[in-house]
């Protein structure tokens, strides 16, 4: 009696096991292609798996893999579509959170900062993810890094406790960065001082000298009652060099800041070990 029962069970579920085997094989094949960084074919095979997987067993995982593969190929919009599908097909809060974070990470990468912050805020306000606050802050910090807001990034990483490395890096970058507004303001009062502030001493001296010369000649012309000459020198020479000095101080500051930021981003790209967008 017992053996008949087992035979029946085998006949009933045997084919099911067999068919699952085919899908599992396909899943492993697609995963292998993904691991070999053959993203195009991996997407094809995951899509094939999804198409034939009538049980929906692989929906979430395959959608996630397709999203990852599209992301690796910088097809960000497609990646978001598949991460959103993964979000829809998530079976538990963990998967749901992971899918939402993946969408945020793509938004960080493609610098759609407002969208990333909006999604992070909605995650932060979602009571289901109270235990994930630290991770939410972590990605918020990264959002600010990509938005070039290092001070905010540093403050946000401070809330994650565990990420001292990123917090310190952001603090360092924020301190090292020059203030464009400050450089321009001091250049308004003392031409060339903005260049001095960014360490471009030669340019600062030249700027100061030219402005001094044309300023002197213009003022002298006005004092000597040569009003027309005064206007001409002021308009065509002094103001020209004065504006050039303001522009220069802005350009030098931005150039310096770019170098500082690029150095930090290079570190993050090649040497930082933690999770990255």
């Amino acid at each position: 009696m017992k053996s008949i029962f087992f035979i029946l069970i085998f006949f009933a579920i045997g084919p099911e096991i067999f068919s699952q085997g085919v899908l599992e094989k396909q899943f492993n094949y697609a995963k292998k292609l993904y691991n070999e960084e053959n993203y195009f074919d991996s997407i094809t095979e995951f899509k094939r798996l999804l198409f034939f997987d009538s049980t929906g067993k692989y929906k979430y995982t395959a959608d996630n893999y397709i999203g990852d593969a599209y992301k690796a190929g910088s097809k960000f919009s497609n990646a978001i579509i598949y991460y959103t599908l993964a979000e829809i097909n998530a079976q538990n809060f963990n998967d749901l959170f992971k899918a939402k974070i993946n969408i945020i990470r793509v938004n960080i990468l493609r610098r759609t900062t407002n969208r990333a912050l909006q999604l992070l805020d909605s995650l932060n306000n979602d009571r289901r993810f109270l235990s994930e606050k630290k991770e939410i802050y972590y990605w918020k910090g990264w959002t600010y890094i990509f938005a070039d807001e290092w001070h905010k990034a540093s403050e946000t990483f401070a809330l994650t406790d565990s990420n001292k490395t990123l917090q310190e890096l952001c603090e360092k970058v924020d301190k090292e960065k020059y203030s464009v507004i400050f450089a321009q303001i001091i250049s308004h009062f003392i031409p060339g001082s903005g260049q001095f502030y960014t360490g471009n001493y030669l340019s600062g001296i030249l700027s100061l000298a030219w402005n001094g010369l044309w300023g002197y000649l213009a003022v002298k012309a006005f004092i000597d009652n040569r009003i027309f000459d005064g206007f001409m020198i002021t308009n065509f020479l002094w103001l020209r060099f004065y504006n050039g000095n303001l522009q220069n101080s802005k350009n030098f500051t931005e150039e310096k800041n770019l170098k500082i930021v690029n150095k930090a981003l290079k570190y993050l790209q090649y040497d930082y070990v933690g999770a990255k967008p």
Partner: protein, 289 residues
């Protein structure tokens, strides 16, 4: 008890036969499943993958629908020469033969080599027996608007289009015959007479007014300086004024050229949009109902 066992056996047998069939069909790489998957990709607008899958499927034997859809996928991807080749290979006995010929012409039209396209169309010697004769002729006549060859008489040109299409085509025809270009020589001459007028002629109003004021002011300064015997300043402003005056003449001619390029771009853009809206006069086949 025996009854229960009997029912279980019947149930499991049915279950077995059903599942084994589904298991059999779960050969993901069987030709039929490849085609099913390709159809799915095609409807998802993933044309590159759809085309690869259809090509794979076609290795198992010729199928005109798949062959036609490879052409369509390539057309959608902008691979016009490949699409053209695929459409030209559709068998004469296929139900897609007639539409393929039309798609073949469209693919060649879309390469942008209109002379080649026109020669191709003429070599086809299409007559009224051809199912899509009128659609093909519409696209052929439309190609006149893209090329530099002489347009036919308006009546002949418009006759190939439907009554609904004619008013817009009439506008395109008029534009092509008499484009609202601005003449660079006229613009330069106008600015020679009155500085800035050439720019106003090319609808560059702010530049025109600025040029008029600048040249006028410099001329006045030169005149008043000469008048007051300030010869150096007089020459200085004369030179500056002359520079602005000459520059404005040259700028007016350039402005006319820019104006012409802009409206020409707008015209060809309108033509392209019109064609897109009308699917290049090709009847739509919906494979994804």
């Amino acid at each position: 008890m025996n009854k229960i066992l009997f029912l279980l056996i019947i149930f499991s047998t049915i279950s077995f036969s059903q599942e084994s069939n589904s298991a059999k069909s779960l050969n993901l790489f069987s030709p039929q499943n490849i085609k099913k998957f390709a159809d799915y990709l095609f409807c998802q607008h993933d044309y590159i993958r759809a085309s690869i899958e259809y090509e794979d499927f076609l290795k198992s034997g010729y199928n005109d629908t798949a062959a036609f859809k490879v052409g369509m996928a390539n057309l959608e991807m902008g691979n016009f020469s490949i699409a053209s080749k695929k459409f030209s290979n559709i068998s004469k006995i296929s139900v897609f033969y007639n539409i393929s010929k039309l798609e073949y012409l469209r693919a060649n039209f879309r390469t942008g080599n209109f002379n080649y396209y026109r020669n191709l169309y003429e070599s086809e010697n299409l007559n009224r027996d051809y199912k899509y004769f009128f659609e093909a002729r519409e696209l052929y006549n439309f190609s006149y608007l893209f090329s530099d060859i002489t347009l036919p008489q308006k009546k002949n040109f418009l006759s190939s289009f439907t009554k609904e299409e004619q008013p817009r085509l009439n506008q395109f025809y008029d534009w092509k015959i008499n484009p609202p270009y601005k003449n660079p020589v006229t613009a330069a001459l106008l600015s020679t007479v009155i500085p800035g007028l050439g720019k106003i002629y090319t609808q560059n109003y702010s530049d025109g007014i600025f040029a008029f004021i600048t040249v006028g002011l410099l001329g006045y300064l030169a005149y008043s300086d000469f008048h007051a015997n300030h010869n150096f300043r007089g020459w200085l402003f004369s030179a500056l004024g002359a520079g602005f005056y000459g520059g404005n003449i040259y700028g007016s001619a350039a402005s006319a050229q820019i104006y012409n390029a802009k409206i020409s771009f707008q015209f060809f853009n309108d033509l392209k949009n019109y064609l897109e809206d009308h699917n290049y006069f090709v009847p739509l086949i919906n494979f994804c109902k």
